[in-house]
Symmetry: none
DNA sequence: TTTTACCGTGCCATACAAAGAACGAGAAAT
DNA sequence: ATTTCTCGTTCTTTGTATGGCACGGTAAAA
């Protein structure tokens, strides 16, 4: 037998295989596809989805956010969009500090105006 | 007039006031109380909930996680839990800052009362 | 005292999010 | 040719999160 494609590593995965990886129903994978723009598997002539490894990575990320971290789908979408996920709390802490600083400045100014008058 | 409690800032808030702060229904505040252990307002003789500022800060944190960051209630619970075991809790840090602010307010008010008398 | 205005608990209703099921159909492997 | 997997669409179910009601109690104001 001449040249035969050897299966060292799969190039594409079917929806059933992907669903199995995450132990979810195929319908859920399709459902997420409708909810998340980043999921965009190619389709063959027949229309069947062909998932590449990067595709699966993205699904994995969504799975992580939704099933492990407890985001709503919408919350997960926002996390993905903003590209962040961690570190936001620090920003908030800094904002709070700035807020307090402004408050202190206002107190100082009040004091200054009273003693000057 | 001798010693009279000055109402610089309220010590306790009713559920209605708290609900109003976050523009939600009082029933939601009660519901969260059942879902989140960290919410534990004291109750007066009659049974009415009395919220202190730290209580409100905790509610604020939950509000932030659920309404702004898009966590499910369960997801928010886990964030809160894991944040505590991490030792340095960001919420507590922010709460601490708030406490400091309150302290500064008390200093300011003391100053004001002296100059007024 | 009567009214007004909360608040309590407990239960039920709604709204929407999330997921799954059911349908008929087609390709491909066995 | 029977089984197995997939398709898209649509329908149905489940679950979460929230709101609202009924009914009673308390307190303070009128």
């Amino acid at each position: 037998m001449p040249y035969k494609e050897r299966e060292i590593e799969k190039k594409y995965y079917s929806i059933g295989e992907v669903a199995q990886m995450f132990k979810v129903a195929p319908s859920l994978i399709r459902y997420w596809e409708g909810e998340f723009d980043i999921i965009n598997p190619k389709k063959d002539r027949k229309g069947n989805r062909r998932y590449t490894k990067p595709d699966i990575q993205k699904i994995k990320y969504i799975y992580h956010l939704v099933k492990e971290k407890g985001y709503t789908l919408q919350g997960a979408q926002e996390v993905i969009k903003s590209g962040k996920e961690a570190g936001i709390d620090k920003v908030e802490a800094v904002q709070k500090l700035q807020e307090i600083k402004d408050f202190l400045i206002s107190i100082r100014d009040q004091y200054n105006s009273k003693s000057e008058s």
